[in-house]
């Protein structure tokens, strides 16, 4: 339906170029991500973000004040993260066959370990210093029309676009 409207607006060829994998899986996935957020909000009033889990979980092993401030929320954040892992596993079981077998897994990422690891370190620092990630700022913050979050999303989106294109232009492989 959305694809049809966009095709009318932009012309079918443009849609194929902009969205080579179609739109529905993105739109449906996005609605489900929003729905998960809403379910939690509906019952608890919590606007759940994913990256605080990194710090709140560290409070189990570290007494540093940056981590211990999240002690009251650390248990539900573990549950939330386990839910995310479990939900994705259910998706994989339905659509990908045998996700837990390393050999039989439908896909593992081609992005090289150093990019994942170094990028992960920067994501860990940046999301915590910057007060949120793609779910906290991107879903909950934008949904709240929070100016801080809109600026935050614009910042990490622009920087990520520049970074990804620069890395690609330098001829660095995945």
């Amino acid at each position: 339906m959305i694809a049809g409207v966009l095709a009318d607006l932009l012309g079918a060829g443009t849609v194929d170029v902009l969205f080579p994998n179609g739109i529905s899986r993105y739109a449906i996935g996005g609605l489900l991500v929003g729905l998960g957020t809403v379910l939690i909000y509906l019952g608890t009033g919590i606007t759940a973000g994913a990256s605080t889990f990194l710090e709140s979980t560290l409070s189990y092993v570290s007494g540093r004040s940056r981590f211990t401030q999240y002690r009251p929320s650390r248990d539900w954040r573990v549950v939330f993260t386990l839910g995310i892992i479990g939900g994705a596993a259910v998706y994989a079981l339905i659509y990908q066959g045998d996700p837990w077998s390393i050999a039989g897994s439908a896909w593992t990422t081609e992005v090289s370990p150093w990019r994942l690891f170094l990028g992960g370190i920067l994501v860990g620092i940046g999301t915590r210093v910057g007060k949120g990630c793609t779910s906290g700022h991107g879903i909950c913050g934008v949904g709240s029309v929070s100016r801080t979050s809109l600026v935050g999303v614009a910042t990490f989106l622009v920087v990520a676009i520049v970074t990804a294109n620069a890395v690609s232009a330098l001829g660095v492989g995945l």
Binding site: R25, G30, L31, L32, V33, G36, V38, I40, Y41, T44, G45, I46, T47, A48, A50, S51, F53, T57, R64, S65, R66, W76, I84, I85, G86, G87, A88, V90, S101, S105, T108, T109, V111, R115, L116, G119, G120, I121, L122, G124, I125, T127, R128, V129, G130, T134, V142, G143, S144, V151, T155, F156, V159, A160, V162, T163, A164, N165, V167, L174
Partner: protein
């Protein structure tokens, strides 16, 4: 807690279904090869926005926690720009963000553990760095015993 688990399950299923859990898809988006991810971010935030806007008008507080329904508003300061930029470099390099990384693990993409390990190291490093001031303050304060 059960509700948070269910919410997380739906959230994670959505991340899997949208393919955002796959770093290649994020990198394709960032290099303008496939704009589909716009629908994930805007779709998700619009659904959330409708709830954040509607529920506070219907009720004062959440039934399970008594927590007041509010919006997610955080104060703006330089950290939002500094942290956002660092996160942006990391996201552009690896194609993975925290929520999608957890989902990616659930899909069975085990190399994502490199990224999750990195995230914990990064979060720990900034936490130690930023706890320093607080630690100095309490160490400098005279002790009564």
């Amino acid at each position: 807690m059960p509700l948070i688990l269910v919410g997380g399950l739906v959230f994670g299923f959505g991340l899997g279904f949208s393919h955002m859990a796959r770093p290649e898809v994020v990198l394709d988006f960032l290099t303008f090869d496939d704009f589909g991810l716009l629908f994930v971010m805007f779709g998700g935030s619009i659904v959330a926005g409708i709830a954040f806007w509607t529920l506070p008008k219907l009720r004062n507080s959440a039934p399970l926690t008594g927590r007041p329904y509010g919006r997610r508003l955080k104060s703006f300061d330089r950290n939002v720009l500094v942290g956002g930029s660092i996160f942006g470099v990391g996201w552009g390099l690896s194609g993975i963000c925290p929520g999608a990384a957890y989902a990616s693990l659930g899909v069975g993409n085990w190399p994502i553990l490199y990224a999750i390990g990195g995230m914990f190291i990064g979060a720990y490093a900034q936490g130690v760095w930023r706890s320093r001031d607080a630690a100095d303050a309490s160490a400098a304060a005279p002790s009564d015993d």
